[in-house]
Amino acid sequence: MTWEAVIGLEAHVQLSTKTKLFSRASTSFGADPNTNVNLVDCGLPGVLPTVNREAFYKAIRFGLAIDATINQTSHFDRKNYFYPDLPKGYQITQMERPIVLGGFVEINVDGIKKIINITRAHLEEDAGKSIHDADPNNSLIDLNRAGTPLLEIVSEPEISSAKEAVAYMKALHQLITFLDVSDGNMSQGSMRCDANVSIRKAGSQELGTRTEIKNINSFRFIEKAINFEIKRQIRVLESGDKIIQETRLYDSVKDETRPMRTKEFANDYRYFPEPDLLPIVISNEEIEEIKNNFPELPKHKKIRYLNDLQLSENDAEILSSTKSLSVIFEELLNTGNNAVLAARWLVGDVSALLNKDQIEIEESKLDAKLISELLKNIENNTISGKIAKEVLEECYQTGASPNSVIESKGLKQITNTNELQSILQDIVNANPEQVNQFKSGKDKLFGYFVGQAMKATQGKGNPELINKILRELLAK
């Protein structure tokens, strides 16, 4: 029997606002425990939340990018439950009237395009963190994350495979990073998702019982967790058992999903409108302002790269879809670098180095200034492309500037015509047989002379000059 999977994803995206959703405490990552915390985040008696409008602007930017409806009047609700890292005993979220309704994201799996509709996207505050392994006798609470703004993006159950789920999450990731909605840093928890997975007989219209896999925080784990869960559900149903509707956790070490500690009673969150906050009304002017300052989306960037900058399809695709490379590329354009050359180096050698270490460019020692310096040296013939690769590698490893590497290693190209002339004359003199063969029509031997020239100059000879002088010498 063939089965098909029905998957809906709830993505939790941490917004890159400077301060929290309801307090003016910082959202910076990696601060000492309980230092990015103020009275409001602690939920002390008598404190009140105030809304960070920047979070709304980011949510609206996302909504506009996916062609969603923006609820210009939205409000917050309280979701009530007890947990030590939830200081107020309720989470402020948007239940009844979220800021973003509808919209869609396009994904591409193995060349096949598919539309995934978005149900809604709403703003809510994150909880703090419980730390159970730092102290043998106590659980500790870090409230730094408490109150950080999250955008929860809920998809329709239109995803049919783990691959599609990953493609969808990658599409979201691309959007939120290009829109500057979030830094998208998954290892720091800036983007994570819950997956609702069920299976049904192929072609059936009825939905099967679903399970929810909580808090998956990498593309790889999304794929693995969903694949495991689909297989598990098939196994359960084919052995005649039933799927239990439950929340499960993905264990990446064992590569399996497991039920979370079952609660004796289902949680009743007792949602009701947050009385401490008035409904949030976004004016037409604010929407206009957001539209006027709208960042360029990847699809539009690609068209510009192809048409205006004459980049190759491959370079345009890669530079428009990867935020970090795109940012560097735009900076290189702004500092007057040749677009095609810059694109070729970023997509080629720079990416190769990064991929080898599996890091993003901002995590490396390379930056736009450094790459620009390298490209300038190539363009003005100070170094050849071959030497440039060597310089780049050195800069990548040490962070030294290309100029200093070229200087200290004496890699400057030989562009002195007289100097080259004498080196080349020596080569011609030393190879009379080859000269004769060349003159009698064996054109391919030209390459032999170039190779000899490069060998003699340790690769520093300017290739164009070498070509020119060689032709002159051989024509004699």
């Binding site: 008696p45 008598g46 404190v47 939340p49 007890f82 107020k88 309720y90 609470i141 949602y271 009385p275």
Partner: protein, 469 residues
């Protein structure tokens, strides 16, 4: 007296504190701010341009004051010292007030008799072993006894006005959003509003003008500057006062007589009296007892024993921490309301209770809007009776006590201002009437109350205090 240098600021403060100690048996204070108040009074110089300069004040024990114990009269907050000060307290201190003490109250402001306090009952200065009203019972007793001339209270369903009436004081609940709620520990967020309790409408006006003003820390705070009700206090226009048809026949004969006397006083001053109707007012008590508990059940979730306040000693696990800390830390009335609130918000009951209550709340607000097309202010009794003996009401059926707020709750539901004004005594005990006005009509309300007080002397009477020495 301060102006004529008959008394210095520190003498006044010390006098107030010594009275507080002398009448300790009233039990109207949870904590006396003795050292800090005296130190403050020595540093302050009297400012004759400022009517609140060096005036001793008592704050209800749900306003946070930095480093001063703030308990809401609950065991769960016993010993809790907030790291910050409420906006309203700051506003009054900036106006020159000296905080003498924190006043006893019903636990978390839940009650109408001050009998739910963890720190014991407060006596009515007019009659020992009788309630001062609630929940701002300690505040009312502290002013009525003459310890302080002014106290802050909060009013969620009548908690300023009813104790004012029972203690022969003037108490104002302003328009929702007039006074910042920052630092005021919440009972029911959409209903809570701070206000002054004093002897006269004029004193209330002076205090109100200092307490109000927009606060960016409270999203529900109105974007308006401070009120200027004192400036317009003497402006008397003979308004039309509406008498609520639905309230007819709700009073005992003696209470009715006192109320009729008030009506006659207003008539004699040229006010027109007109019967108006508030068709949905009969639903105000049940509506209130859905919305207020719902909000409180959520607001009080933060008292969990994790970060501050009481934590049970006998804890094995997380469940214990919550269940035991909260079971041992909260009193019965608070628990009752948390249970009601949890129930009405539960899945499957939300629509029938909470949602319905919000709909009725809107209808009640619309009733007021219609009524204010017929009249300028609405005149009602403040409470159904005078003070009553400890343990006499609500001990068997708590809802008996809920009816104390029959006349006052609707103003909270509609978010509109209302004042209680002393009127003719009933069996030698204070009683009050209430003036309710449209949104932001504090000036008109205070003018009218002031006009009444210029032509009556009930508010000038004070209790003997002999039985508390």
């Amino acid at each position: 007296m301060l102006a004529n240098k008959e008394i210095t600021p520190s003498e006044l403060t010390e006098e107030s504190i010594s009275l507080a100690k002398r009448y300790a048996s009233l039990n109207c204070f949870n904590v006396i701010n003795e050292e800090a108040a005296i130190a403050q009074s020595r540093n302050l110089s009297f400012d004759s341009n400022n009517l609140l300069s060096c005036i001793p004040i008592a704050h209800k024990d749900l306003f946070c004051i930095k480093d001063l114990e703030t308990t809401c009269s609950s065991k769960i907050l016993e010993g809790y010292k907030p790291p910050y000060t409420a906006t309203v307290v700051k506003n009054l201190e900036n106006a020159g007030c000296i905080t003498i003490a924190k006043t006893n109250m019903d636990e978390f402001a839940m009650g109408s008799s001050n009998e739910t306090s963890y720190f014991g009952n407060v006596h009515n200065p007019w009659l020992k072993n009788h309630v001062p009203g609630g929940s701002s019972g300690g505040a009312a007793a502290s002013v009525a006894s003459g310890i302080v001339p002014l106290a802050t209270g909060t009013d969620t369903g009548g908690s300023i006005r009813q104790p004012a009436a029972l203690c022969n004081l003037t108490g104002l609940k302003p328009t929702y959003g007039r006074i910042s709620r920052w630092g005021m520990i919440a009972f029911a967020s959409s209903l809570d509003q701070a206000g002054p309790i004093a002897h006269t409408a004029k004193d209330c006006a002076i205090a109100l003008d200092a307490m109000t003003g927009h606060d960016s820390k409270d999203s529900t705070s109105l974007h308006l500057g401070k009120t200027t009700t004192l400036e317009t206090l003497e402006k008397h226009t003979s308004l039309t006062l509406g008498i609520v048809k639905e309230f007819n026949g709700q009073l005992s004969a003696e209470m009715e007589l006192a109320f009729q006397k008030s009506i006659m006083t207003y008539q004699s001053l040229g006010y027109k009296i007109k019967e108006i109707t508030l068709p949905n007012i009969k639903y105000s008590v049940p509506t209130y007892y859905v919305i207020a508990p719902a909000e409180c059940s959520s607001n009080l979730s933060r008292f969990d024993g994790v970060r501050f306040g009481f934590r049970s000693k006998n804890i094995q696990n997380l469940e214990d921490l919550y269940v035991k800390s909260r079971s041992e830390g909260f009193g019965n009335e608070v628990k009752r309301r948390i249970l009601i609130g949890t129930y009405v918000l539960s899945a499957g009951y939300y629509d029938a209770y909470y949602k319905k209550a919000q709909q009725v709340r809107r209808l009640i607000a619309e009733d007021f809007n219609s009524a204010f097309k017929e009249c300028d202010l609405i005149l009602t009794p403040t409470s159904p009776g005078t003070t009553f003996a400890f343990d006499s009401k609500g001990s068997k059926d708590p809802t008996e006590l809920y009816l104390e707020d029959l006349f006052t709750i609707a103003a909270n539901l509609a978010g509109i201002p209302a004042i209680s004004v002393p009127q003719a005594f009933v069996n030698n005990l204070p009683s009050g009437h209430q003036l309710i006005g449209p949104h932001l009509s504090e000036s008109a309300i205070l003018q009218t109350a002031h006009h009444f007080q210029l032509n009556s002397d009930w508010h000038l009477k004070s209790p003997s205090m002999e039985s508390f020495l």
